[in-house]
Amino acid sequence: MSARSDLERVLLENKFAVTAEIGPPKSASAESVRRHAREMRGSADAFNLTDNQTAMSRMSSIACAAVLIQEGLEPVVQMTCRDRNRIAMQSDILGASALGVRNVLCISGDHQTFGNMKEAKNVYDIDSVQELMILRKMRDEGKLWSGDALEVAPVLFLGAAANPFADPFEFRVARLAKKVKAGADFVQTQSIYDMGRFERWMALVRAKGLHEKVHIIAGVMPLKSPKIALYMKTKVAGMIVPDAIIDRLKRAKDPKEEGIQLCVEQIRHLRSIEGVQGVHIMAMAWEEKVPEIVRRAGLRP
């Protein structure tokens, strides 16, 4: 099978893939996206553009992706089900594909009450599994969900999210299997801090043979301070942060350096787990550290 994107090519060649996250700005200028692109060039195979993350309006992920393409980097466009119905989604996918976007991550999205416009009405016409079904049909059959033929079908490498830290734990792998059935080519996981639970999850994934059907990219997020670690533990939905990690950051003379070191150790560990094909680095508002993390983890020279 020929690769539809650089990210897919790297994964098909069994190289350890690196993806990194870029947060779109609360701005009508894409200058910060260009700056991050320059900082991170060469550090990752593809870059995720979040879609109004935590339900706050930011520059659109597709617009940021177009800027990234201009800069010569490969985007992963995140598309939530919170803000668009199936009509808008299919239209945006056609537009994104025309602009050169190949990687799309299908997600349900943070609920609007997490954001700063809690009074907004959500859409949820479809969910993330159904989003995969619709986009796969567009790609493989060259048809809209309605059945109408497309003159030109989009070229897509379809991604899904997986959260081994959400409940019910025993259903998490079954749900991943469902996403694979619906069309997921790759998955990016929630940030991993509880390595034991992640390894238990991966064992179940391997037992079902899912690691051979979908490319699994493990998520990491470097922690800047014990305060942020505590915030992740208590305030972010579907996240587990063990106390040992918070204590380690508290004891550290230089918590920022400790946070980077911890992330580097996590990446080295994840790389040793059978079935993990890459790492997704979410350095929120700390994007400039990605090259250093990647270098110290031995992923790039």
Partner: protein, 234 residues
């Protein structure tokens, strides 16, 4: 049943400003069960409004009436003599009741004294919880008898999302995750197989997105002749 909640007294007072002769109209059905608009609530609210009127010199003349069902014309017809000469009706029924009164008495302004919320059930004394999304295409047979449309914050058909932890929804630690409940119910029923295949995108055509929905039971519809006969009797 339909669950509703009375508007705040201050909000009702603002709506009543400029009116004089007020009929507070309750309903003995759903809104009486959820303690928002039955006979007792009509009496309490009317007394509060009389007190407020005296204190703030509003000049309101408050009368009370509670119908068996405010959503049915047959019962609302009884209100005719009571509505004569009124400036407004403050309805403590659901939005359906308030609209039925307005449709039958177009000369009187109907004000909503209640916020209609959802289709639900009493959970425990004084607690009422939404249960049904009224989507017009029931999926309870696939979801262990738990409605994902009403009870999942994202109305997911292939949940639970990544925000479900410890049986709770990401939206609030007080809210049970509907998909955790669906999983447990199907587990107890021995039907976890129902969760293996993706449920495809739902048709929302029978849901509220297609304008007011209309359900006709043809056997119950009267012929023109039957209508004339019934009209003659009345």
């Amino acid at each position: 049943m339909i669950i509703g909640e009375q508007k705040k007294l201050g909000e009702i007072a603002i709506m009543l400003d400029g009116h004089r002769k007020v009929l507070v109209a309750g309903c003995r059905s759903c809104v009486a069960i959820c303690l928002a608009g039955g006979e007792k609530e009509v009496a309490v609210l009317s007394e509060s409004l009389r007190l407020l009127s005296t204190l703030k010199d509003k000049g309101w003349e408050i009368e009370e009436a509670t119908l068996e069902r405010q959503c049915e014309k047959e019962w609302v017809a009884e209100l005719g003599p009571r509505i004569q000469g009124k400036d407004c009706v403050l309805s403590l029924a659901c939005g359906v009741g308030a609209q039925t009164i307005q449709a039958m008495y177009p000369q009187v302004r109907v004000l909503p004294g209640l916020n209609t919320s959802n289709m639900g059930a009493p959970e425990e004394a004084g607690v009422f919880v939404e249960k049904c999304g009224g989507c017009g295409d029931c999926v309870l047979h696939l979801t262990g008898g738990i409605c994902p449309i009403a009870r999942c914050a994202k109305s997911l058909l292939n949940g639970p999302c990544g925000g479900s932890q410890g049986g709770k929804c990401e939206v609030s630690p007080q809210t049970p995750c509907a998909w955790e409940e669906i999983y447990r119910s199907l587990q107890a029923l021995g039907r976890l197989d129902l969760l293996e295949d993706p449920i495809p995108p739902k048709s929302w055509l029978p849901s509220r997105d297609g304008g007011p929905r209309r359900i006709v039971n043809h056997e119950a519809v009267l012929t023109e002749e039957q209508k004339r006969m019934k009209g003659g009797k009345a």
